[in-house]
């Protein structure tokens, strides 16, 4: 066997070791633990932990809350990104803004969450500005935007984090797909600017970015640092809920944490598989 073939085998083995084995080992252990086959307090196969997870509302509330946060954040972010990318496309391709747009990408999620915390909390910057401007008279009148029931702080931070990515994506797409040509064509055929926007530009941009949108939806659903800092104890987003269960002092919660991890993993992988089967025309370059 020549050196090239050895390198090929080693390379494929490295790929398997780093990509497949960790996921397989992780799921294997978590499944066995959640079914009572492994673990300190477990003494044989049982469905008790899965029943407890599946038939108590906390998990479903957590999943629902994560879904709600992802849906609202992504919708608002995409709307903002489309407006900015379409209206400021020339400035975003050349000059100062074309560099400045990359600035928000240097903010880790945790730092952006901290910024939102300083800005939106009851005694935060906006509340102080509101008092100065006379919009409110005392601290209590300022709405609860951090650790609140509706996850406003989490949504706000997610929007700040996602929007720049989509602006860059849509600006690049607009350029690569030569949308100006489509715009001219549709207008020369008699479409109004609004119709061109609604029926030509936005559908093309959305269709071309559907895979990225689905990925970002899952990223936001699984986000950890932002809800950890800005979220409430109940309902929690799924990642925080899972880690919280794993790190509690009650050892009986650990099998449940593993059951939730497995369930969430399968749910996400299933959704992705379904999406890819349905949109098999999307080419993975």
């Amino acid at each position: 066997m020549n050196t090239g073939k050895y390198i090929a085998i080693i390379s494929k083995s490295i790929f398997v070791v780093f990509t497949l084995i960790p996921v397989a080992l992780g799921f294997g252990y978590a499944f066995l633990y959640s079914f009572g086959i492994l673990g300190i307090l477990n003494d044989g196969f049982t469905l008790a932990h899965w029943k407890k997870v599946l038939f108590t509302p906390t998990l479903w509330e957590s999943l629902g809350f994560s879904f709600y946060i992802a849906l609202i954040s992504l919708t608002i972010a995409i709307v903002f990104a489309l407006i900015i990318a379409i209206y400021l496309k020339q400035k975003l391709q050349k000059g100062f803004l074309s560099i400045a747009i990359y600035l928000p990408l240097v903010f880790p999620a945790l730092v952006m969450a901290f910024f939102s915390f300083l800005l939106l909390s009851k005694s935060g910057w906006l509340s102080r500005v509101s008092i100065r401007l006379g919009f409110i008279n005392e601290l209590e009148q300022f709405p609860n935007w951090i650790n609140d029931n509706y996850g406003i702080g989490i949504i706000f931070t997610s929007i700040l984090l996602i929007t720049p990515f989509f602006i860059i994506l849509y600006t690049n797409l607009y350029h690569h797909e030569k949308l100006d040509n489509y715009k001219e064509l549709s207008q020369s055929l008699g479409a109004s600017p609004i119709n061109t926007l609604r029926k030509v530009l936005i559908p093309i941009l959305l269709r071309k970015s559907i895979f990225t949108i689905v990925l970002f939806f899952i990223f936001v659903m699984s986000s950890y640092e932002v809800p950890l800092l800005l979220g409430k104890q109940h309902p929690q987003m799924i990642s925080v809920f899972t880690v919280d269960k794993l790190q509690r002092f009650n050892l009986l919660d650990i099998p449940q944490a593993y059951a939730i991890s497995c369930l969430y993993g399968l749910l996400v992988l299933g959704t992705m598989a379904l999406f890819l089967v349905k949109h098999s025309k999307i080419k993975l370059k």
Binding site: S11, G26, A100, L139, S222, Y224, L276
Partner: protein, 256 residues
């Protein structure tokens, strides 16, 4: 008019978080209802210059960890991605690379924590390094996947046909062609590692105090000025990298 207003608003929005955090990083004494801290001083920043400060240690750990992860993954994924790209199942294998991101790094951390505890890697620098390799390696493969086009393979074959050996082909053909994508991979992996919190906290059990862990610690201690300072330190290196990398950022990672 609307376009001009939108441009101004957007530009202010881009710079405001940076300005805001910087003001707090040099601030002291933010009593209600003052809009900004009453006292501004560079004393907070001067602690970075002191050798043994905890912030300095975290900065060193983060820089070392992220640089090591970025160098290792860039080299490893460059070599191995070539064979993934030549595989009959290329698309499927690339799809598998999304697993750690689709599952969320922190959930993967939950699933893998047992093995790190079992091998005594939990709570160590090596453990966090390995955990970060696991989540960044697939990303490296995704980045290089776009580089290995039929044209590159043809060029490689041509140099072999013309008598070049493996080393010469790498030095004279592949390396010059891949310089940009190598830099892109290094920068992107550096950023993932630099920004990482959940997995590092879970596998490091809080012992490997990276800068992100330090920010969280300061926030929990209600020390907003040090948290702002640590945040600024977190922003500066990626800022420099993204500025250098701006030209080819996003092109390789975005699948449309």
């Amino acid at each position: 008019m609307i376009k001009k207003g939108l441009t101004y608003l957007f530009t202010i929005g881009l710079f405001f978080p940076l300005f805001f955090l910087f003001i707090f990083s040099i601030g002291r004494n933010w009593q209600f209802p003052a809009i900004f801290p009453k006292k501004n001083t560079l004393d907070n920043w001067s602690i970075i210059l002191k050798g043994n400060s905890e912030l300095n240690t975290s900065l060193t750990i983060s820089l070392l960890l992220s640089s090591l992860v970025a160098i290792t993954i860039t080299l490893l994924s460059f070599i191995t991605s070539k064979y993934i790209a030549q595989s009959k199942h290329r698309s499927f294998l690339i799809l598998l690379c999304y697993l750690p991101y689709v599952l969320a790094p922190v959930i993967l951390g939950v699933l893998l924590q047992f093995y790190f505890i079992y091998t005594d890697l939990a709570g160590t620098f090596a453990g966090v390094f390995l955990a970060q390799l696991i989540i960044t390696y697939p990303f490296g493969i995704i980045i290089f996947n776009n580089f290995w086009t039929p044209l590159v393979f043809e060029l490689e074959k041509l140099t072999f046909t013309l008598g070049a050996n493996t080393n010469q082909t790498f030095k004279e053909v592949l390396f010059p062609l891949s310089r940009k994508v190598l830099a892109l991979c290094f920068f992107q992996v550096f950023l993932i590692s630099w920004f990482e919190y959940g997995l590092s906290n879970l596998i490091g059990i809080g012992n490997v105090k990276t800068l992100t862990l330090r920010v969280f610690q300061y926030i929990n201690e209600a020390n907003i000025f040090y948290a702002a300072l640590a945040s600024c330190l977190l922003i500066i290196p990626p800022g420099i990298l993204i500025w250098i990398n701006k030209r080819f950022l996003f092109k390789a990672e975005t699948i449309v």
